[in-house]
Amino acid sequence: MTTYILRRLLLSIPVLFGILFATFTLARLIPGDPCRAMLGEKATNVVCDEFNHRHGLDKPIPIQFGVYVNEIAHGDFGNSFRYSKPITELLMERLPITVELSFAALLISIFIGIPLGVISAVRHNSWVDVVTMMWANVGVSMPVFWLGLMLAYIFALALKDTPFQLPPSGRLSPGLITIPFFETWGLEPTKGTFIYNISDFFSRMNILNAVLTGNWVVFKDAFTHLILPAFALSTIPMALIARMTRSAMLEVLGQDYIRTARAKGLDRRSVIFKHAFRNALLPLATVIGLSLGGLLGGAVLTETVFNLSGVGRILYDGITARDYGIVQGFTVVIAMFFVLLNLIVDVSYAYLDPRIRLN
């Protein structure tokens, strides 16, 4: 197992370099010089010369690439001229929001998608199956941004003054504030330390922070704000998961060992869950891993629609403001994040299926 993980880790290094090379090339392809692209049109020659020298842009291209890789290895993803802040700092502020949203969406898609898929497979060709598959087909074809806007319209306007009313944007109602859990607990980590950064990161996830501080008013408010965006974002992965669960279960249910299990008189429940479902898990791990990339892409759209100040939203702002630093830095980080997620999926694969790690 350890050798497998190590080998898999080593294999992702060339891909990481490829990602860096691709973003580096993209940045060099930006029309005009990188200095004015990064600092804005009004940067003077003196400022630009200094900027070029500092980032090694007056050196040959291969050395520039080396400088770029070196900067990234030290956690320096460049600066945003719009926010005049390092990208790393912006990321630490915004990433928790996206992680919270994507995680909620993933939970919804797993907890609804898998049961639906199992039921449609067990009751093959019944009305449940037909309806689920129709709905799954519509789900994978859904423009997330449209669904989000329509949900906002239905739940914030059409259902106004009913118990089903939900807020259409933002993360908390005006007036509510969250106090980071480490301050409530009386811990005072020094700013800039690793412990502080980690605690700060997690305290920015409103729901987690509310649970940790026991503030149930904030919890309820943050939760109601999260429902619509999380549901909108979860549609495509949910549909994919339901479809994949169904086809994997159908395949497994036709196997001889299922017939054996039934023949020896095992009850339906343990045949379905112990014998069939466990073996259907493997293709599911792939589809869940693949949807994570879709979630990150969908987060840009969902956050734009629901006005959430996460990674996706800031990327959108960066695009409209031509803040290449943001676009480049965030793309690198998200791609690396994605590689890491794929690695986790592969490792879980090896855990789920011994045949893989033995090969």
Binding site: M134, N137, L149, G297, V327, A335
Partner: protein
């Protein structure tokens, strides 16, 4: 799997006559036996009809403001749909889907949007298939360092979530429909390259390829006359499903303001332009989004149907 098993009732002289059925005839038959593919094909047929006839069936030009028609119409910005048949007063001008923020007829814009949407799907996928197929074929046929180089580049492209990579590419190229199409085309290349490479790897070892080679066939002949026709089926399935993804991604880019620019009647950009008006003029958000969904749905349904119809492992029994 070359013939369809007929039920005894249909076993008349006509069915017994030895008439060879081609793969495409079989596929066509199977496709028409699935309700979902029929639904997909109906939606697509309607869309194609709309796209081809938009200039005749649209009541107005898609970029024409209602102030510029003769005589100028007295309509409000973002007015709700007014259909005379459904009881809208006769003295008001008819706008089946209302008007948009620039006093243009939404219905006309929607009709022209079909044209653009289908064009987007077809052109990006054609671009990606051509490049992906060539790259995949080269990688699979020659192997060695060529294979390694091409497939590692594809791995890197796949390492980015597709929409994000497309966003990054458009940011560099500059917003616009053509650049958005190019970006979506580029990010979908790896899928086709992989499919093609896998097919080439399995086909190049077959006897008929060796036969061609021993008869003196050159690389070009072997690749494009022997291998490519046999690798077509997975490419067609991937391509149909790819059109769906391409249309969805293009709409998303336009929604973000990176794709088609106003006043181009593109559904994604129409939706994006009016998204802040969703509470006051929901129809301007509802119709374009619904159209995008139906278009994507039709390609997904046909693609799924094709995949099952072309899959030799599935047992097909006529019902």
């Amino acid at each position: 799997m070359a013939t369809i098993t007929a039920t005894p009732a249909k076993l008349d002289s006509e069915a017994l006559a030895l008439k060879s059925t081609s793969l495409w005839q079989i596929t066509w038959h199977r496709l028409f036996r699935r309700k979902s593919s029929i639904v997909g094909m109906i939606i697509l047929a309607i869309l194609v009809t709309i796209a081809l006839t938009a200039q005749w069936i649209a009541p107005y030009s898609p970029t024409l403001s209602m102030l510029d028609v003769n005589p100028p119409q007295n309509v409000q910005k973002r007015s709700s749909p007014c259909i005379h048949l459904l009881g809208c007063p006769q003295d008001q001008p008819q706008h089946i889907m209302g008007t948009d923020g620039n006093l243009r007829d939404e219905f006309s814009r929607m009709l022209y949007g079909a044209r653009l949407s289908l064009m987007i799907g077809l052109s990006t996928v054609t671009f990606a298939i051509i490049i992906g197929t060539v790259l995949g074929a080269l990688a699979g046929y020659f192997g060695g360092w060529i294979d390694n180089l091409i497939m590692r580049v594809m791995d890197v492209l796949l390492a980015f979530p597709s929409l994000l990579l497309a966003i990054a590419i458009v940011t560099v190229l500059g917003p616009g429909l053509i650049n958005a199409l190019l970006a979506i085309g580029i990010v979908s290349i790896p899928a086709y390259a992989r499919v093609m490479r896998a097919s080439v790897l399995s086909i190049r070892e077959m006897d008929f390829v060796s036969a061609t080679r021993s008869l003196g066939g050159n690389t070009y002949e072997i690749l494009f006359k022997c291998i490519l026709p046999n690798a077509l089926t997975p490419l067609i399935v991937q391509g149909t499903l790819g059109i769906a993804t391409a249309i969805l991604d293009a709409a998303a880019l336009s929604f973000l303001g990176l794709g088609a620019q106003p006043p181009t009647p593109e559904w994604g950009s129409m939706l994006g332009a009016e998204r802040n008006q969703v509470f006051t003029a929901p129809h301007l958000v509802f119709y374009p989004g619904l159209a995008i969904m139906l278009t994507v749905l039709s390609f997904n349904l046909i693609g799924d149907g094709l995949r099952d119809a072309l899959d030799p492992r599935l047992v097909h029994v006529s019902s």
